[in-house]
Assembly symmetry: C2
Homo-oligomer: 155 residues x 2
Amino acid sequence: MEIKLTAIGIIHTDHKTKEEAPIQGAFNPDTVGTVEIFSEFAEGLKDVELFSHIYLFYHFDRAEPGELVRHPFLDDTPHGIFATRHPCRPNGIGITVVRLTERSGNRLTVQGIDVLDGTPLLDIKPYVPRFDCHPEASDGWFAGKANRKKPSGRE
Amino acid sequence: MEIKLTAIGIIHTDHKTKEEAPIQGAFNPDTVGTVEIFSEFAEGLKDVELFSHIYLFYHFDRAEPGELVRHPFLDDTPHGIFATRHPCRPNGIGITVVRLTERSGNRLTVQGIDVLDGTPLLDIKPYVPRFDCHPEASDGWFAGKANRKKPSGRE
């Protein structure tokens, strides 16, 4: 079975290379980006500005599926790809929760964004705390891992 | 640009029809399901059991892209598709946060699942409260909307 997706827009950020892109937007809440939705999908944005936070779904267009067990950026122990947020996954779909600070027609200004400039946008969904916020969730291996630079030479 | 995805597994639930599937898993936290990961991807599950909550990414295989402004299940006012979680979206990708209660080889037992039986699984990511929990987020038009049955005749 094969599923085909098409971009509905483009994400513009100041992160021009993988090396300079932050590991997670939550570590860099002030990083601003612009989400441009292609005009043929712009009607679907009606009322999105009612939400303070949205999920961006995007394609990891500069990553390839890789090893199923690998080092994530924040740990020096390898983990299964499905226990990490690493971009090199069997299906290269990324999500990030961002703060929506402004909408101007088909352009959204967002804060706390970790994606590379020019990343193809696949979907936007409203972030709804009742469905999406689980403060009781465990941190798994992320527990105690502080933000750091991406280890040199590690894709 | 076209992006191709393939299923990495299948989600098994008791929800056999769209009518009986719950609107959101958060409304039905005790609903149990099983996530079966195909053997060629099973290695990627290493350490997933360290997490109490995971994101399931799946394909809305029984929904087609529809109108860009439409009625969601929980409201009688139409909204743009990107301001709803409705399955009939330009790219039919769904996510749900579920509680991971057991792992047995390539099978995960999860609670709080709202997807249809037989849904193709696309990805699993660990839910990390530091990145994913935003209690300060607004509810947008979901504010005050209680759980209800899917309105009759509304796809």
